[in-house]
């Protein structure tokens, strides 16, 4: 079905999408790369100065970068593992006949609809909070010391929260795939003497391969840029323990940009576990250009924006944090 006419039409039809995405990718990328070579002050244009690779060196040699890379891999890998294995098991269970399938299905799918900010807040406060959280209550009733999930095992806790959000997605796709499996194939295998385990490994799993691939592909896309869950729960801490690449770059973006523009609304940290900061606080720049990122900054209640409170928008405890790249330019400015 390909003629000159239709091919020409196809090029025309696909070009808006391609151009938009290309623009979306290239323009900001070009700007980012351009800025990255500059000492650039967003607040005082015209003071740019070429700095070569300096900013890259700062970024890449930063121990936080390596930590964030590892955390990203752990986060993506952990969630993929939990959701695909859990999804297969759950799909196998839900594929059996039982009473109330409709209701259970509705319950299982529900977390997928919950926005990441909500699920992160709920898990953080209502469940993982060592004092008032349900897990805390539960531990107490057993006479155990409550476990402070977000500070003792921040990354694992985030993996848990994200897995809860994505398990329904995996389960539903795998369940549908399982239901599309031809029953006669299973019966034929049974006739051939295959036990339940062999049937699973030789018939069901290969049949699910395509679905598993889709689950992994789609989830990876979303998991690589996990942001809200970290933003709301640990802010990447303690230290860099739960900072992924997305969050690291976020931390490195200039506070100047965010302040007063609603960009990167900060939030305070109310989690007890997070008082043990092992990084120097934000604004004391001992080392020009080598100041650590400043996750504690948002603690200061006094910078909560009054405007936001009035309008009902988030009490933007403005993130006073600033990335080193941007910090550097500020220093240059002084």
């Amino acid at each position: 079905m390909a003629t000159q006419h239709s091919r020409a039409a196809a090029r025309l039809m696909i070009s808006p999408a391609v151009l938009l995405l290309l623009g979306w990718m290239l323009i900001p990328l070009a700007m980012t790369i351009y800025f990255s070579f500059l000492r650039y002050n967003l607040l005082m244009p015209g003071m740019e100065e070429f700095t070569g690779w300096t900013n890259y060196r700062f970024f890449l040699t930063d121990p936080a970068f390596k930590a964030a890379l590892i955390n990203t891999l752990l986060l993506v890998g952990g969630v993929l593992l939990i959701t695909s294995v859990g999804g297969v098991l759950l799909a196998l269970l839900l594929d059996q006949p039982f009473w109330g399938q409709g209701v259970v299905r509705i319950m299982v799918i529900a977390p997928f609809f919950v926005m990441p900010t909500v699920s992160a807040l709920v898990w953080k406060n209502m469940f993982m909070n060592p004092v008032n959280g349900l897990f805390g209550h539960f531990a107490q009733s057993l006479g155990l010391a409550p476990f402070d999930f977000l500070s003792q095992a921040p990354l694992a806790s985030i993996i848990g929260i994200v897995s809860w959000q994505w398990l329904p997605f995996a389960t539903l796709i795998l369940l549908t795939a399982l239901q599309s499996l031809d029953q006669e194939q299973l019966e034929a295998a049974e006739m051939d003497g295959a036990g339940p385990l062999s049937r699973f490994f030789y018939i069901m799993l290969p049949h699910l391969a395509r679905a598993i691939t889709v689950v992994i592909l789609i989830q990876t896309i979303f998991l690589l840029s996990i942001f809200a869950e970290i933003f709301v729960t640990t802010s990447g801490g303690p230290g860099t323990a739960s900072t992924n690449l997305t969050f690291l770059i976020f931390l490195e973006t200039p506070a100047a940009l965010r302040r007063g523009h609603g960009l990167g609304r900060g939030r305070g940290r109310d989690h007890p576990g997070q008082h043990r900061r092992d990084l120097p606080d934000a604004d004391d720049r001992q080392e020009p250009g080598r100041v650590r990122m400043t996750r504690g900054a948002a603690n200061r209640p006094q910078i909560r924006s009054a405007r936001a409170d009035r309008t009902g928008a988030p009490p933007a405890a403005a993130h006073a944090s600033g990335g080193r790249i941007w910090r550097k330019m500020k220093v240059g400015e002084e």
Partner: protein, 276 residues
């Protein structure tokens, strides 16, 4: 050839499935429960919480303090707007990829999906600057455009996998029947693909509704959707469980209800590409 399943086995499965179902659903159930409690009661041990009186107090407080309706309207406009805009751009593109595949079609699709893999923060500053210069910060229009671009690859991918199931012969028949390309897409492809388009629409409304990077970073007040509304209860109100629960319930309820009602469509949409 359904085989007779013993009732005992069915009972065991039922028990297991319900336990797991409730466990997965529990966090949502719990915030709904807490949202009807006073702050004092909400932080008590679970059993005490259940025994305490029910009240609408928290909802009243949230309503008083935040302009829920504004954020809700923003969420609706932004998520529906970006999805519809995305569909308008994606349908022709998916048509081209599904029915006039070239040697590089698969690569183009992969490239499109890969643009979603780039961490969005990488482009945050440039986008912010562009938005600032064009006066798009904290506008519904600006956010709609960004979310369109964000979800475009997924929309194209879903439509593509669905369109591929439509026999090309039918479109060729339309072409033989004298339909122009516009008519072919408008009168033949789109009506045939209604189920696929509906699923795509639903899923992307959900994704846009829940998107929490750009919505948090590009809005301050007037265009802030529910994701930002809820983030405002993050702290220090985070410790006020009842209010947080009420706000959470209000933020997720619309999409939860929509999701439940359109469950079948949604699952079908998700599984075009995954199930043969």
């Amino acid at each position: 050839m359904a085989r007779a399943v013993t009732n005992r086995r069915k009972a065991v499965t039922t028990l297991a499935a319900w336990l797991i179902g409730i466990a997965i659903f529990f966090p949502i159930l719990w915030i709904i429960v807490l949202s009807f409690k006073t702050e004092g009661e909400a932080i008590k041990a679970p059993l005490e919480v259940l025994g305490s009186p029910w009240t609408l107090e928290s909802y009243a407080t949230v309503q008083e303090r935040s302009n829920y309706l504004l954020h809700f309207t923003n969420s609706v406009i932004i998520s529906v707007g970006s999805t519809v805009l995305g569909l308008i751009i994606a349908i022709p593109a998916a048509w081209a990829m599904a029915f006039v595949p070239g040697r590089r079609t698969k690569d183009v699709l992969m490239w499109m999906l890969s643009t979603k893999m780039l961490p969005p923060v990488g482009v945050l500053v440039p986008i912010y600057l562009i938005f600032r210069d064009f006066g798009l910060l904290d506008t519904r229009f600006g956010l709609t455009v960004v979310l369109t671009l964000i979800n475009l690859p997924i929309i194209i991918w879903m439509l593509y996998t669905y369109f591929r199931e439509i026999p090309g012969e039918i479109l060729e028949a339309a072409r033989m029947d004298g339909a122009s390309l516009r008519n072919e897409i408008l009168y033949v492809l789109t009506p045939m693909a209604v189920p696929g388009i509906a699923s795509t629409l639903l899923l992307n409304i959900i994704l846009a509704w829940n998107e929490a990077f750009w919505t948090l970073n590009l809005t301050a007040a007037k265009a802030a959707p529910l994701t930002a509304f809820i983030a405002s209860y993050s702290s220090p109100e985070g410790l006020f469980y009842a209010k947080l629960s009420a706000a959470s319930t209000m933020a997720i309820a619309p999409i939860l209800v929509m999701g439940w009602f359109s469950q079948k469509q949604l699952v079908r949409g998700l599984t075009f590409g995954a199930v043969k």
